[in-house]
Symmetry: C2
Subunit: 262 residues, 2 copies
């Protein structure tokens, strides 16, 4: 079980630059960059891999844990440690951004704006590149929104799917990932928010507007529609926030979270 084709793992020199576990991270990262570890692959058992790399098991585990924290590896007790499978759109973990938001006191306005910029960018690209299938999906989601005007939870599902479809139609997985990262943070409390039917109707109209611009291959129109859509969503959310703040002291810190229909 030791030396079959595992010679790709090289023992770590004692006279390394950083700490031992950092070196372990570098080793594993290099192997991923070189393509020796591919998505879905299983790493050797920790006990074996530790021997192969010439480090102790806790040190190896420290390295694995660091890579797991950034979403590259995933360990399952009893099963093994795997390189994360690349099924569907790749996604970056949003918790780093979330923590940074707390640490630096990001305002919701800042996050809304970031999301708006990203959504406008992907909408513009989608207008240039969306395939027929993708446009059909968008249309279906818009129809789903109009069909769920009295069911906010269902509406939100179509809402999210519409935006994801647009993002994937942009053909740029990096922008898609970044957009999802930001949107995830704003989503957290969105689902908890009570939505009025009039808001939903307006929101659905805006989504249809975005869809039509994309179908017309009109990037600037799509960008403008998306801008207005998100601006209205932000205004609606701020309105609800003020209402909700009435009677209860506003929590000055961590201005995260968002609501309203998007």
């Amino acid at each position: 079980m030791t030396a079959l084709n595992n010679d790709i793992f090289k023992t770590i020199d004692p006279d390394r630059r950083g700490t031992t576990s950092e070196e372990v991270i570098s080793q594993l990262r290099e192997m991923i960059h070189r393509g020796e570890l591919r998505p879905g692959d299983r790493l050797p058992p920790e006990r074996d891999l530790a021997k192969l790399l010439g480090v102790s098991r806790p040190t190896l585990r420290a390295g694995i844990r660091s890579l797991a924290a950034v979403g590259v590896l995933q360990s399952r007790q009893g099963a093994g440690t795997f390189v994360v499978k690349a099924d569907g759109p790749p996604s970056l973990d949003s918790s780093p951004l979330r923590l940074m938001a707390s640490l630096h006191g990001f305002t919701s306005a800042e996050m809304f704006e970031a999301r708006q910029s990203l959504e406008m960018a992907v909408a513009g690209l989608a207008a240039e590149r969306a395939t027929g299938d993708q446009m059909a999906s968008m249309s279906e989601e818009v129809a789903g929104m109009f069909a769920s005007l009295d069911d906010p939870e269902q509406f939100l599902i179509h809402d999210v799917r519409f935006h994801q479809t647009v993002a994937s139609a942009s053909g740029n997985r990096i922008l898609t990932s970044l957009m999802n990262m930001v949107a995830t943070i704003l989503f957290d409390t969105r689902i908890k928010t009570v939505k009025r039917a009039t808001d939903l109707k307006e929101s659905a109209e805006m989504h249809r507007h975005v869809y039509r611009s994309i179908r017309e291959r009109d990037p600037e129109g799509a960008r403008a529609a998306m801008r207005e859509h998100l601006e209205r969503a932000q205004r609606a959310w701020e309105l609800e926030k003020e209402v909700a703040a009435d009677g209860s002291p506003a929590d000055g810190s961590n201005g995260n979270g968002a609501g309203g229909a998007h």
Copy 2:
């Protein structure tokens, strides 16, 4: 040394939901979100904190390591573990994105496009909001570029600083962080690339064009100028890549890295 004002640390229930170390991560994360741990703060020593949380030291270390991996904590041997200080623009670690690029086979074209979208967004915002000081800084960096046409290394420094100034002038730290994240990946091999003087002159002109649009408070002009600037940079890089590929078989995998003047 145990119970001074450290009662904010609560013992972890044995009947928790996930693994013990995950619970440690949640605990620390919650404390950050609640503002009990602020940037620059030092955590209690591992041995003490482990006792306070009711877990073993390796388990605590695992949690700390996970948060360190995403750039929230930082440990210094002999000194202690600190919440990362928020000096200057907050920065997200780019290694997750870098690893994802390798795993999913992102093309450089995709990365260039992502960077272009982000840079255009911040340029547009900067045109609306840049302060006099920020515009002065941009101007200085442009001047620095023209003064370093025969010193590619120096030129690159002004180049990078110009873009960072524009980003910070956008007033949106999230977009700035995301932009830096993408730009960092593209930067890696940029510095290694040989640049011809004519490229640098053109690049400096483009930067000046961007600066002027921002000074004129012309968001669309700034966006357009930035778009053209980065499109030219990408074309120049692709040209150099082709030249460099002559005589040596192209490496089909991992199409990362970039070069040329930006």
